[in-house]
């Protein structure tokens, strides 16, 4: 399907007809998928600029009579309690996600490099053990980790989240980065070694700069994962001032079940940072995600 009609030879009309059938079929399908993807998000935005009263109409107004940004103003206003909470959740999420990202990269970079380049006993076993971590759901670790965190006094701290998120982030980070290192020609390091660099110097001075796109992609992935994580934040944190956005929003709206514009505005605000981050850096990101699964 991919190469159809790139340069359709000007020959049989019937053949061109079929080619057009494929092409139009693909287009119609894409339009359908586009609607499926975009309509829920558009509806979220439209709802978020309605008044609470306008949202509770049946049949719904396709476009509000009086669009209002009141829901957004409320969320971003440090003067009222809603805004205070929302901004605090936002900073908490930002702090936890950033800390997780930095630590993930620091720990994953050398490990991925070692898995890519060295042959030490147990290498394959360790690498697959790392990969297998991806197989297990958060819930399996929840009870024992909760007990562990309580024992070392980390329940109700952001540190407990960072430490936990690190374990989700690491396997994937190592896998992504290894894909990048595998694609960096080993001759570069060998040349550096011949010029008298130690192995560690060759790694830091030659390989690290070359793998910057991979590191960026890995960082984005860790950040998005930590930003969106819910179940541990929901279990480990109980104090209102420590909640991260997903849990905070859930707490908040389980009390105000009918403020749909507010809920949609909050969902939108929660999605903005990660979507922007992703769109700006998507090229790195898409490439990195597939390096590991697809060998070029």
């Amino acid at each position: 399907m991919s190469t159809i009609a790139e340069t359709a030879p000007r020959g049989k009309a019937r053949r061109r007809m079929r080619i057009d059938g494929w092409r139009w079929g693909g287009r119609i399908f894409l339009v359908f998928m586009m609607l499926y993807t975009a309509l829920p998000m558009i509806w979220m935005l439209i709802t978020s600029i309605k008044s609470g009263f306008a949202a509770m109409q049946f049949p719904p107004q396709w476009w509000p009579d009086q669009p209002t940004l009141a829901s957004y103003q409320k969320l971003l206003d440090p003067q009222n309690s809603v805004g205070q909470d929302f901004l605090r959740f936002f900073w908490n999420s930002l702090f936890v996600s950033t800390a997780t990202t930095i630590l993930s990269v620091i720990v994953a970079v050398p490990a991925a490099y070692a898995f890519s380049r060295f042959t030490f006993p147990g290498r394959n076993f360790l690498f697959f053990a790392v990969l297998l971590r991806n197989m297990f759901p958060a819930v399996i670790f929840l009870v024992p980790l909760f007990i562990l965190m309580r024992a070392i006094g980390l329940v109700n701290t952001h540190a407990s989240l960072v430490l936990t998120y690190l374990t989700f982030g690491l396997p994937l980070a190592i896998w992504l980065l290894k894909g990048f290192y595998d694609n960096i020609p080993v001759q570069l390091e060998q040349a550096a070694r011949i010029d008298g660099a130690t192995r560690f110097q060759a790694f830091v001075l030659i390989v690290m700069p070359l793998s910057t796109p991979g590191i960026i992609a890995t960082a984005i992935y860790s950040f998005i994962g930590a930003w969106n994580e819910y179940i541990y934040a929901y279990t480990f944190l109980s104090k209102n001032e420590q909640l991260t956005l997903p849990v905070g929003i859930q707490r908040f709206f389980s009390e105000n079940t009918t403020d749909f514009p507010g809920l949609m505005a909050a969902s939108f605000m929660m999605s903005v940072p990660v979507v922007v981050l992703f769109l700006v850096l998507q090229r790195y990101f898409v490439r990195a995600l597939t390096e590991g699964a697809v060998k070029h």
Binding site: M1, S2, T3, R18, R27, F29, L30, M34, T37, P40, W43, M44, F58, P59, P60, I106, V107, P110, A111, R117, F118, T119, F120, P121, G122, V130, M135, F136, P137, V139, I140, L142, V143, P144, L145, I147, R150, T164, L166, T167, L170, V186, R199, I224, N228, Y230, I231, I249, Q250, S267, M270, S271, V274, F278, L279, V286, T290, A293, V294, K295
Partner: protein, 319 residues
């Protein structure tokens, strides 16, 4: 100290030779410095919990967290699970959820990848838009769709009523018969982009010469896809389907936020059920036994996953 070995060397499986493993480990001691931090973190936060979960699954545990007072009961937790009717409801829900979400996401994602494989105006923008649902938080997605399905003010119900297809808005997520399909639609919305990204990357590895040669030999579009493109994507497809299946098997947020497993367990899947048992009813022992069963199932998934990845490691790319 070793000097750097090439990729091919690095890929070779280690075979302990006559020198003894310990000596080899000693020779490579510098290598371990690189992986030690990662392994240490994972040991503390992964190995210990796994051990502890297995231990707890053989005990009758008191509510609260005074777990010193636990009583050893052997396999009783396991027999209790397997004889409970809820177990079979939850298991069939999990199967429907996992298979339905995985297959439909994969097919839609693959079709999108194929349709986007050709250059046209606005392709990059379209691709970016299609990926957004995968990036936003599952909690936000759950609330958006909960609002869309709302039985009084939901937009889908309103459209159906407006078109005369329904007298009143249906209860998508409040009725036993429709709740699971409704949640699967949300789940597919969130994860078909992942399949799309993976398959797009896979498509880039299909050699153009082969496709051109097939064209010269008179293969039509369908034959080219089926005999040239698809065999090249077998490995990527396997990995993608496995990753999707595992992610779906392990989902929690969508059913938890949208329905909490209800109505009457119709949307409880394994993970939400385990969470409910542990943190809702504080039955740590039973929840742990469930986790161990889950663990065994995932290990078999993991076996295939590792095999598929090892297939990728080989040069020829055929699993």
């Amino acid at each position: 100290m070793t000097i750097l070995t090439g990729k091919a060397e690095a890929r070779r499986r280690l075979q302990p030779d006559g020198h003894g493993v310990l000596r080899k480990i000693w020779e490579h001691r510098a290598d371990y410095a690189y992986v030690l931090p990662a392994i240490a973190v994972m040991l503390i936060v992964i190995a210990y919990p796994i051990y502890y979960t297995i231990e707890l699954s053989f005990f009758n545990t008191p509510p609260g967290l005074q777990l010193r007072d636990k009583i050893f009961i052997g396999f009783d937790n396991y027999t209790a699970i397997l004889t409970s009717p809820v177990f079979w409801t939850v298991t069939s829900n999990t199967l429907i959820w996992t298979l339905g979400s995985t297959l439909i996401s994969f097919v839609l994602g693959f079709a999108c990848a194929l349709a986007l494989h050709r250059d046209f105006v606005g392709r990059g923008l379209l691709r970016a838009i299609l990926i957004i649902p995968w990036v936003i938080s599952a909690v936000a997605a759950s609330y958006i769709w909960k609002w869309i399905y709302h039985s009084d003010f939901g937009i889908i119900g309103a459209v159906l009523v407006g078109l005369g297809l329904a007298d009143r808005p249906p209860n998508f997520i409040d009725s036993v018969s429709t709740v699971l399909p409704s949640l699967i639609v949300v789940n597919i919305w969130r994860e078909f982009p992942f399949a799309m990204i993976m398959m797009m990357a896979g498509l880039q590895t299909v050699p153009d010469q082969l496709l051109r040669a097939a064209k010269v030999d008179g293969a039509n579009a369908w034959q080219r896809f089926w005999h040239v493109t698809f065999p090249h994507l077998r490995n990527v497809s396997t990995v993608t389907i496995l990753l999707l299946a595992v992610a779906n098997f392990n989902s929690f947020i969508i059913p938890w936020i949208m329905t909490g497993g209800g109505p009457s367990n119709a949307s409880h899947i394994w993970i939400t059920h385990i969470y409910e048992l542990a943190f809702g009813r504080q039955r740590w022992g039973v929840a742990s036994a469930y986790s161990v069963l889950l663990f065994l199932i995932l290990m078999s998934f993991g076996y295939f996953y590792v095999r598929a990845l090892s297939g990728n490691e080989r040069k020829d790319g055929s699993a």
